[in-house]
């Protein structure tokens, strides 16, 4: 792990996340034993229940004190602890390319990639498994969860090679992700959610019904919040549209700010209603400090 070196992963900066761990709100369902509580029965130290002995059970698990009292054979069951499966979905549509008029910050895709890389590193560092999906109208790259550093490198390479473009159909992408995964875990989505439609929420509901822990990182650029500091601008559509809109940002800033804030609140409310975590990821913020705050908030 110490050998990792990538443009989206600053290990020195990751020191801020040294004491941070991604813990699922539910039970983990990883392939391997891990530090997270799961619904499986296993050999952990935590007693869970009794069960009548059946042939094939390990005789060491028979509780002889119960046999002495009841003259029946019962075996003791213990909780199994599994590792965590984390699914990172990064939106790489055209809108994620926005980096501001003077490129004062990283693009939204770069910022999302940086967050995803940090999160993947944290997950792998804890022995959990992490997967990655790059999405626009469809999944372009899907790396199933794995826990090795080699896999982490693959994820980093995939993020590095990702180029923003095309339109967005996050709902379809999530549906494809759901179809490809077999066990529940944590779904982390990095997107600007500009094309949120009812289908998107239905897919989120789908994950939630499957007891996924869902975290949405809403990536925004400061100029999306406040409009660019220009005297006049011709605002053009992204993701293939050809519409444009001439305006003086100073003149329309107030109205726009109110509308965009309402949009953010709408997404946030949708998440809260579904028990999802929602974080506004401003590209101007330092990513690791932001992530630490997110984890602290989540655990609080």
């Amino acid at each position: 792990m110490a050998a990792l070196k990538h443009r989206y992963l600053d290990l020195a900066g990751m020191e801020a996340l040294r004491h941070v761990r991604l813990r699922p709100r539910g039970e983990a369902e990883g392939t391997f034993a891990g530090p997270h509580k799961s619904h499986f029965r296993g050999t952990a130290v935590e007693f869970a229940d009794y069960r009548e002995y059946a042939p094939g059970d390990d005789i060491r698990l028979v509780d002889w004190k119960v046999f002495a009292r009841t003259d029946r054979h019962y075996v003791r069951l213990y909780d199994a602890e599994r590792n965590l499966l984390t699914y990172l979905v990064v939106d790489k549509s055209g809108s994620m390319e926005f980096a501001g008029t003077v490129r004062s910050t990283a693009s939204k895709l770069e910022h999302a990639s940086r967050l995803a890389a940090a999160l993947g590193y944290l997950v792998v560092r804890e022995g959990d498994e992490v997967g990655l999906s790059l999405a626009d109208t469809a999944l372009h790259r899907h790396l199933p969860p794995a826990a090795s550093s080699v896999h982490l490198n693959r994820i980093l390479d995939a993020l590095d090679q990702a180029r923003a473009g095309g339109q967005t159909d996050l709902a379809a992408c999530l549906e494809q992700v759901f179809a490809r995964i077999r066990r529940r875990g944590v779904l982390v989505v990095f997107s600007d959610f500009l094309d949120v439609a009812p289908d998107f929420w239905r897919r989120i509901d789908l994950f939630r019904r499957s007891r996924f822990d869902v975290i949405l990182f809403h990536v925004v650029h400061p100029e999306e919040l406040e409009l660019p500091a220009l005297a006049a601008a011709r605002f053009q559509e992204t993701e293939g549209g050809h519409g444009y809109f001439n305006a003086e940002p100073d003149a329309v800033r107030g109205l726009y700010r109110r509308r965009f804030e309402a949009f953010l609140q709408e997404i946030k409310a949708g998440c809260q209603a579904r028990g999802c975590d929602w974080f506004r990821a401003n590209t101007a913020d330092e990513p690791y400090g932001f992530l630490r705050n997110c984890f602290l908030e989540r655990e609080a």
Binding site: A232, R234, Q236, N246, A247, E248, V252, G254, R259, F260
Partner: protein, 691 residues
């Protein structure tokens, strides 16, 4: 509807600048930078509602700016509304009369420029501005208004040349005659310009402005002319005798809002004096100089003030003929030896002895013993009853009194009715004889005899009068003394240039004890003085024809020279020992001398009309206009030609431009404060820039 015309139509080319705000708007707008903006739809949603409003605001703002530019361009082009109706016809007819006030008051100098020069220059401007083909005339207003050319003329250069050569007169302005002349020239259509200082004293009696014409009144000044003037200088008595002390009474008029103290100087013959006089605001004050002429003869002189803005009325001239003695023709049929007759007491009271009454030469005659010579040379006729005059004597005396002689009749006895000639206009009518055995007291009448209020005291005197009289209507002011029943006892009336006294007093010992009273000679002498004072002054002013009377002691033709020494053509009306010369209207104030050969035999003073000294203007709205006349007062630096043709519209345009600019600023301020979108109307799917 009459479209407005423009004084500077070439400036209308500036209308091309009306689109300037739009052009500037598009040229100076910020060049939009292309920004691929992911939340594009939110921007659209946020601003779509404002789009129409903003576009409307921008259009409104540009419209206001364009209108403001339009108003400014029109303002500089100086539009004016053409007159309508009768006024339009008047203007269109191009018949113009310029009435220029050339009266004395227009000689006033303000800021170094005489008012007349200003008026003349402005009139010349109007004349130059007339279109070719226009008919114009110029009336110079003096005592006798005159036109520079006999009728309206199209020869405007000649008229202009004549106007430039005009000079103000020393005369009073007769605007009534001037307006009548203007009315005749215009014939009911055209434009009348009046350049005047609009003195109230002249314009009050001017009558109406001509009907049906466009009248433009142009005050020569808007500032008051503060003026001190000598409005009168009189000698009392008018023709003193040698050795007699006479008074020169000067009246000073202060035509200003502040009381002033002035020094009045007199130079008359060998006398030079000065007096201080305090004059309240807009009032007169008198000051008197006492002069005693040691010998008879002709004396000329003047009184004057320190010069002010109107210096021509600061000097008044005097011409005084001092007689050797006052010749009194005393007519009575009483014997000279009758020491109980009224004639005896009257003659003794007047001339007790030759030494006691210097300057009085009394010639006593019986009423039937008069010759034409004595009647023609007497200065004062005293008739004491009983006396029965011949018709010729009455006729001559009446004429002589009209010409300036004095007349005193004592109605004492049955012949009294013959001593009341109708030609002398007695202020009463003799009614009947009365018997007042106890005697009647005297009551002072409206006309005072003595200058001091307590000097005349007749309360102790009683008169057994002979006649009851009744004052004629309107003549009660001539009564000096009266009886308790209202009968006039003594009257004093002006008759032509002379004066007459009728004394209904019995002046015999039987008639009362008055002749024994010291009041008797005092009353007689005071009556004599009053008689010499009460002649109607024949003031001669420039511009009016007049008659000059002079004694002609020798043979030879008379010649008259004006104050500048120029000969004046005259015509003799009468000749003999005294001549009367018909003089043309005087041009200058000053002393006009009459010479016979090389000797100066007579002189007369011509002084300016005191009405011209009152420089207060009349409120122009008080000047009446005839029916259909459109009257405009042209004030300040307005273009006279423009005013003459039409009503200027630039004030309205200036106000409109100011209002539009203010509206633009208010709109900007309100919109910037109230809404975030100002001038930044978004535009979707169009290449046009912001509005």
């Amino acid at each position: 509807m009459n479209w407005p015309a423009f004084a500077n139509p070439w400036l209308l080319a500036g209308l091309a600048a009306v689109g300037l705000p739009v052009l500037i708007h598009y040229l100076t707008r910020a060049r939009p930078r292309r920004v691929a903006f992911p939340p594009f739809k939110f921007l659209l949603e946020a601003c779509a509602g404002q789009q129409a409003v903003n576009r409307l605001r921008t259009i409104l703002l540009l419209t206001v700016r364009c209108l403001a530019v339009l108003a400014l361009v029109l303002l500089f082009a100086r539009p004016f509304a053409r007159p309508s109706g009768a006024a339009a016809n008047a203007a269109a007819s191009q018949r113009v009369v310029l009435m220029v006030d050339a009266s004395l008051s227009m000689r006033a100098v303000q800021r170094g420029v005489p008012l007349f020069a200003r008026a003349k220059a402005e009139a010349a401007d109007v004349l130059r501005g007339l279109e070719s083909g226009a008919e114009a005339g110029v009336i110079l207003v003096g005592a006798t208004p005159r036109t520079l050319l006999p009728a309206l003329s199209r020869n405007l250069p000649a008229l202009h040349e004549a106007l430039v050569k005009t000079e103000p007169t020393y005369e009073a302005g007769d605007f009534q005659a001037a307006l009548a002349l203007a009315k005749r020239l215009l014939g009911g259509t055209g434009t009348l310009y009046v350049f005047s200082d609009f003195q109230k004293s002249n314009w009050e009696a001017a009558g109406e402005l001509p009907a049906g014409v466009l009248c433009r009144l142009r005050p020569a000044t808007t500032e008051p002319v503060n003026n001190m003037a000598l409005v009168s200088a009189r000698l009392l008595p008018e023709e003193p005798v040698a050795g007699e002390t006479a008074e020169v009474i000067c009246t000073v008029f202060n035509c200003g809002p502040q009381p002033r103290e002035e020094t009045v100087r007199l130079q008359l013959g060998e006398f030079t004096q000065e007096r201080q006089v305090k004059v309240p605001a807009y009032a007169t004050a008198d000051c008197a100089f006492n002069v005693t002429f040691s010998q008879d003869g002709l004396f000329t002189g003047k009184t004057w003030l320190e010069p002010d803005d109107l210096r021509e009325d600061d000097t008044r001239y005097l011409a005084v003929r001092v007689h050797k003695a006052l010749q009194i023709l005393f007519l009575s049929d009483a014997d000279e030896g009758d020491t109980r007759s009224a004639a005896f007491f009257v003659s003794r009271a007047l001339v007790p002895s030759a030494q006691a009454a210097p300057g009085l030469k009394l010639v006593r005659r019986h009423s039937q013993d008069t010759d034409r010579g004595i009647l023609e040379t007497a200065d004062l006729f005293i008739l004491v009853a009983p006396a029965a005059l011949t018709g010729e004597a009455v006729e001559i005396m009446t004429r002589r009194v009209q010409e300036g002689a004095r007349f005193l009749a004592v109605l004492d006895g049955p012949t009294a009715p013959g001593l009341v000639p109708a030609g002398l206009s007695p202020p009463f009518q003799l009614q009947r004889t009365v018997l007042s055995e106890a005697g009647d007291a005297l009551i002072p009448g409206p006309r005072k005899l003595f200058a001091e209020a307590d000097a005349g005291d007749w309360s102790a005197a009683r008169f057994r009068r002979h006649y009851q009289t009744q004052a004629l209507p309107g003549r009660s002011g001539d009564v000096v003394l009266s009886y308790p029943d209202g009968s006039a006892a003594v009257t004093l009336s002006s008759v032509g240039k002379g004066a007459a006294v009728f004394a209904n007093l019995p002046l015999t010992p039987d008639g009362g004890d008055f002749i024994g009273s010291p009041m008797f000679p005092a009353t007689l002498h005071e009556l004599l003085r009053a008689l010499r004072r009460s002649s109607e002054a024949q003031a001669v002013t420039p511009g009016a024809a007049w008659v000059l009377e002079t004694p002609t002691p020798g043979e030879g033709a008379l010649s008259v020279t004006d104050p500048e020494g120029a000969a004046i053509p005259t015509q003799a009306i009468t000749s003999g020992r005294a001549s009367r010369l018909a003089m043309p209207p005087a041009r200058l104030p000053g002393i006009y001398s009459v010479k016979q050969g090389a000797a100066v035999v007579g002189a007369a003073a011509v002084n300016v009309d005191p009405r011209e000294s009152d420089t207060r203007p009349i409120p122009l709205e008080q000047i009446k206009a005839g029916s259909g006349a459109a009257v405009t007062v042209v004030q300040g630096e307005e273009d006279l030609m423009l005013a003459g043709k039409a009503r200027p519209l630039w004030p309205q345009l200036a106000a409109a431009a100011a209002a539009l600019l203010a509206l633009e600023m208010i709109l900007l301020a309100v919109w910037r404060r109230a809404a975030p979108v100002v001038g930044g109307a978004p535009e979707v799917r169009t290449s046009a820039s912001r509005l």
